[in-house]
């Protein structure tokens, strides 16, 4: 399993005891996020819908690349990778 850093955006930090980064293990983005939501239950509903698909108002970047442009949640991760949770920002 790879050790990966997850960067938490300000609006979601209250759900993770105000941490800005959390180090977790997994082989894919999905596995790492499952670790995250199993530790911080409240985050699950913010990140995933009932089908456990990523919500459309959340983007995940592996380093500088949106995982949509890789293999989505099945994207493999390596030791030292950084996953950033980037909220979708929109308005009128």
């Amino acid at each position: 399993m790879s050790k990966v850093t997850i960067r938490i955006p300000t609006p979601l930090r209250t759900m993770v005891n105000n941490a800005d980064e959390i180090i977790l293990e997994g082989n894919t983005v999905r596995e790492v996020l499952e670790q995250l939501t199993s530790q911080f239950d409240a985050l699950n509903a913010s990140l995933f819908n009932e089908e456990q698909e990523l919500r459309h108002f959340v983007n995940l970047f592996l380093a500088e690349t949106n995982i949509k442009d890789l293999q989505g949640l099945d994207t493999k991760v390596n030791d030292g990778d950084v996953i950033s949770i980037i909220p979708a920002v929109a308005g009128g």
Binding site: R7, P9, T10, P11, R13, T14, D20, F57, N59, F61, E64, N66, S84, I86, P87, A88, V89, A90, G91, G92
Partner: protein, 135 residues
């Protein structure tokens, strides 16, 4: 309370007047302690909305990631988002409310052909926006 220095405010207003009549948007970087947030840098982001760019904005997530990296390098954090309201008051719209995240300041600037009209900041409190004092 939101502190915006004069240089940051000028930078913000210049992004906005240059972008008129389209909505422009970007990220507020700085520091926060207790009830005061201080803006130390303002970045502009791409508005990805092509359908109605004069009344809508979709901030490019890549620009938010860049701003986040810049914040981290400088020991700051993202403290909010700014966007313009071309020819409309500096008050949040229903679309703004629906898309808002808590714990961020939303700075809205009203702009017309004549220039900047008004600059206000808003915070989500539950489901509603409340105005935050700018100093």
């Amino acid at each position: 309370m939101l502190k915006i220095s004069t240089p940051c405010q000028s930078q913000l207003h210049s992004f906005i007047t240059q972008g008129y009549p389209h909505e422009t948007c970007g990220v507020l970087l700085g520091k926060q302690n207790n009830n005061t947030r201080e803006i130390l840098q303002i970045t502009q982001a791409k508005n990805l909305n092509e359908e109605k760019p004069e009344v809508r904005y979709d901030l490019d997530p890549k620009d938010l990631l860049k701003a986040d990296n810049l914040a981290k390098e400088n020991g700051w954090e993202i403290i909010g988002i700014w966007h313009s309201h071309p020819d409309h008051p500096a008050k949040p719209s229903e679309t703004d409310r629906q898309g808002a995240w808590s714990n961020w300041s939303y700075v809205i600037v009203s702009v017309t052909q004549q220039g900047i009209e008004d600059t206000r900041s808003w915070l989500l409190n539950g489901e509603e926006f409340i105005e935050e004092e700018i100093i």
